[in-house]
């Protein structure tokens, strides 16, 4: 069972929502659609599901063109961002509903419903109505309904976004585990790079209706093909600094120079945009050739166990990703160390022309 | 149907309206229209402009009947012109 989108576009009222997407999803794969709000994730999923029809292009399932086939004749399931359940049916009936419609016998339905409910840990609530449950439990119910029938494609449209982050962490892990043992195509849309990384599998990066890059998640992360992908697939966002490469050295914003080190030798002289991941800038030097930059603190965002430090100097704004809890005042002056051998370089068109050596091994 | 007391002019009138409606539907299917803003103080679609045109034409006719002794055909000609302006630039 595979799913292929061939030159798929969707235009709504003169606006292009999906622009010429080509995509193949392999059986048993877990695929993440990563993109900002309005990047076309939901639209793409609706096309895969058959809820909307593409303006152009074909959707092929297992070699069969299903472009015009209505959703109820495709074997898919979908979980939405909102907690969508039938409010007038009990949790049990909610989960059983797709099976009922498939005219399965009562014993089998009961077995499957209980099994799925247990798997998602909502078995104590089977007799309740969905609205009597907490948000997390409601979403589990929706997931159970999606998983109870053996769909060939399971679509998740930002299913965890309305939950507390702790619940998110837990459910994400459960999902990963659940799909390990299934042989269906899972598609999971999210705006958060970290979620894509945590879920693993493949990642497709979408921007303004266009597919920028698709591949194994770690590969896309470490080897972004272009600057937009790099920016979208990083949290906190990757630091982008304009620079010029000459015969001998690299200059950032006409002010900061460093010698062209072996790592960057391949670059021909010219204008580039350099990217450096927030976690690679440090408070202490890690290598001899790290650049020391005096900066002013904008804000230290602390996330329980890590710190995102926003700083700036007259020439650029930077974000640092530090492990542990670090408190700083707004406008405090500090020094940070900029790694010259962990740079990504993008050319004028935004195409990646260089990545840090170690990343290429991944 | 006798009780409806059909006359040729009214029959023609209603046939005309029906033809316009069918035509507008066909037009919409062939090339869907997008809401736009013309000289009217609100965004309108083609259908909205048609409605505004028909309603205002009715009032123009009434005004002619009430206020002048000019032949009603003059009003009709005026209205057709008005409709064209409205559909094109409204």
């Amino acid at each position: 069972m595979s799913l292929t989108l061939q030159n798929v576009s969707r235009v709504v009222e003169g606006e292009t929502w999906i622009d010429d997407v080509n995509l193949t999803l392999e059986p048993g794969s877990f695929n993440v659609l990563l993109g900002r709000t309005l990047s076309g994730k939901t639209t793409l999923m609706r096309l895969m599901a058959g809820l909307d029809k593409p303006t152009k292009g074909k959707i092929i399932m297992n070699g069969v063109d299903v472009t015009g086939v209505p959703v109820r004749e495709r074997n898919i399931s979908m979980v939405y961002q909102q907690f969508i359940n039938y409010p007038n049916l009990s949790v049990y009936e909610n989960i059983a509903s797709p099976l009922r419609l498939a005219a399965m016998d009562e014993k089998e339905i009961d077995r499957r419903v209980r099994e799925t409910a247990t798997m998602l840990r909502i078995d104590p609530f089977l007799d309740r109505l969905p609205l009597q449950l907490s948000g997390g439990q409601q979403q589990r119910t929706a997931m159970a309904r999606a998983l109870v029938k053996d769909s060939q494609i399971v679509l998740f449209d930002e299913p965890l976004v309305n939950l507390d982050y702790k619940l998110r962490e837990e459910l994400r892990q459960e999902l990963r585990a659940l799909f390990k043992i299934r042989n269906c195509i899972a598609v999971y849309a999210t705006t958060e790079p970290n979620e894509a990384l945590a879920l693993g599998g493949n990642t497709a990066v979408l921007n303004e209706g266009r597919l920028l890059q698709m591949g194994p998640t770690a590969l896309v992360y470490h080897q972004p093909k272009n600057i937009v992908t790099a920016e979208m697939f990083s949290e906190p966002p990757i630091n982008i600094v304009k620079g010029r490469v000459s015969e001998e050295e690299v200059t950032f914003d006409e002010t900061v120079h460093f010698r062209l080190n072996s790592d960057l030798r391949g670059l021909s002289p010219g204008e580039y945009q350099f990217g450096v991941r927030a976690s690679h800038i440090g408070l202490v030097p890690h290598a001899d050739d790290d650049l020391e930059l005096p900066v002013r603190v904008d804000l230290a965002e602390i996330s329980g166990s890590e710190t995102f430090l926003h700083v700036h100097n007259p020439h650029f704004d930077l974000v640092l990703h530090l492990s542990g809890v670090h408190a700083y005042h707004v406008d405090q002056e500090i020094k940070v160390y900029f790694p010259t051998h962990k740079l990504y370089a993008f050319d004028a068109q935004g195409k990646m022309v260089h990545s840090p050596a170690r990343m290429r091994d991944q | 149907m006798a009780w409806m007391s059909w006359t040729l002019p009214t029959a023609l009138f209603f046939t005309g309206i029906a033809v316009i409606l069918v035509g507008m539907t066909a037009w919409q299917i062939i090339s869907p229209c997008v809401e736009r803003r013309g000289f009217l103080p609100l965004a309108t679609t083609r259908g909205d402009r048609l409605f505004i045109g028909l309603l205002s034409s009715a009032f123009i006719h009434l005004a002619f009947v009430a206020l002048t002794d000019v032949n009603i055909a003059v009003a009709t000609v005026l209205c057709v012109l008005w409709m064209i302006i409205l559909m094109r630039w409204g």
């Binding site: 898919i76 007038n88 419609l101 029938k149 | 539907t25 679609t45 909205d48």
Partner: protein
């Protein structure tokens, strides 16, 4: 900033030994509520006075009515009601009214439900104009169509039948029903429909099993509004009926003019026309607030 300091001094005066502080705002709020209750009571009294007067009269004899004003019937009598319930020309009026109102409610809901669904979920050619055209019918004065109605229903042989009145009332109950139901349906997320289709429901099955239960209260409210407008209308109902389907409201007017003002009987008949409405509003009281905003807020 004279005002802003006053709560502070206020605090100080009450702060000794953490004794309760008097809240001026609290008192103000309480006074406002009291004023509101008083005003409402006054309004309700004025509102109910004419109705009370009618009820009062319906328990009096004609002699008492004409001999002077009194707030309570001195000579309490049920004769007026007895007369209505024993005379078939009277009570059949109620039966007729209830019959065509019920028919109207059923027809309106049956046709309005799918239409409202279409309006709330889909875009289609002419949708907005259709909606407006429906509403304009709700606004059209029945008097305009009186004569053609009479002839139309006569020509199809429906004159003086209940269904004729029910259908005629549809021109204002159906648009209203579509409007209200559309409001309620728009409140149901579209994703529920899609989930159902994904689960494998066909449209009719989904509509009946999932969707209709979801908008139960909307349906209740809509039925109430259909009832209300069909029950209170007289002009069309009177024009389209003569004997067999004559509504109570029309019978009242006729009887009154013929029998030289039987005030007690008239009052009793009037009281009886109010009761069904009160019964219906009682059932939907919890949803009626939303319904009055046509499901839209």
């Amino acid at each position: 900033m004279t005002h802003s300091t006053s709560p502070m001094t206020h605090n100080k005066s009450g702060s000794k030994e953490q004794a309760p502080v008097h809240s001026r705002a609290e008192r103000k709020a309480r006074n406002a509520t009291l004023r509101g209750r008083f005003g409402l009571t006054l309004y309700l009294i004025l509102l109910l006075l004419p109705i009370y007067w009618l009820v009062n009269m319906s328990f009096k004899t004609n002699t008492e009515i004409l001999s002077g004003l009194s707030f309570f019937p001195a000579d309490f009598t049920l004769d007026n009601y007895a007369k209505i319930f024993s005379d078939s020309t009277w009570y059949m009026g109620y039966v007729n009214s209830i019959l065509y109102v019920t028919m109207n409610m059923v027809i309106s809901l049956l046709v309005a439900l799918p239409a409202a669904y279409a309006f709330s979920r889909y875009k289609f050619i002419g949708d907005k104009h259709m909606f407006f055209w429906l509403l304009s019918n709700r606004m059209a004065p029945p008097a305009v169509f009186l004569l053609p109605f009479f002839q139309l229903y006569s020509s199809v042989g429906l004159f003086d039948t209940h269904i004729a009145v029910a259908l005629a009332h549809c021109i204002f109950t159906v648009p209203l029903a579509v409007w209200i139901l559309e409001g309620f349906m728009s409140g149901v997320p579209r994703e529920i429909d899609e989930t159902a289709y994904i689960d494998g429901y066909s449209f009719p099955k989904f509509f009946v099993r999932i969707f209709i239960p979801l908008i139960r209260s909307g349906i209740g409210v809509t039925a109430f509004f259909c009832f209300m407008f069909s029950w209170v209308e007289l002009l069309l109902a009177r024009t389209l009926t003569s004997v067999d389907a004559k509504p109570i409201a029309a019978i009242m007017t006729r009887t009154v003019s013929a029998s030289g003002m039987d005030w007690g009987l008239l009052a009793a008949a009037g009281v009886l026309t109010i009761l069904p409405g009160m019964l219906v509003v009682y059932f939907v009281r919890n949803h009626v607030a939303k319904g009055f905003a046509l499901g839209r807020v």
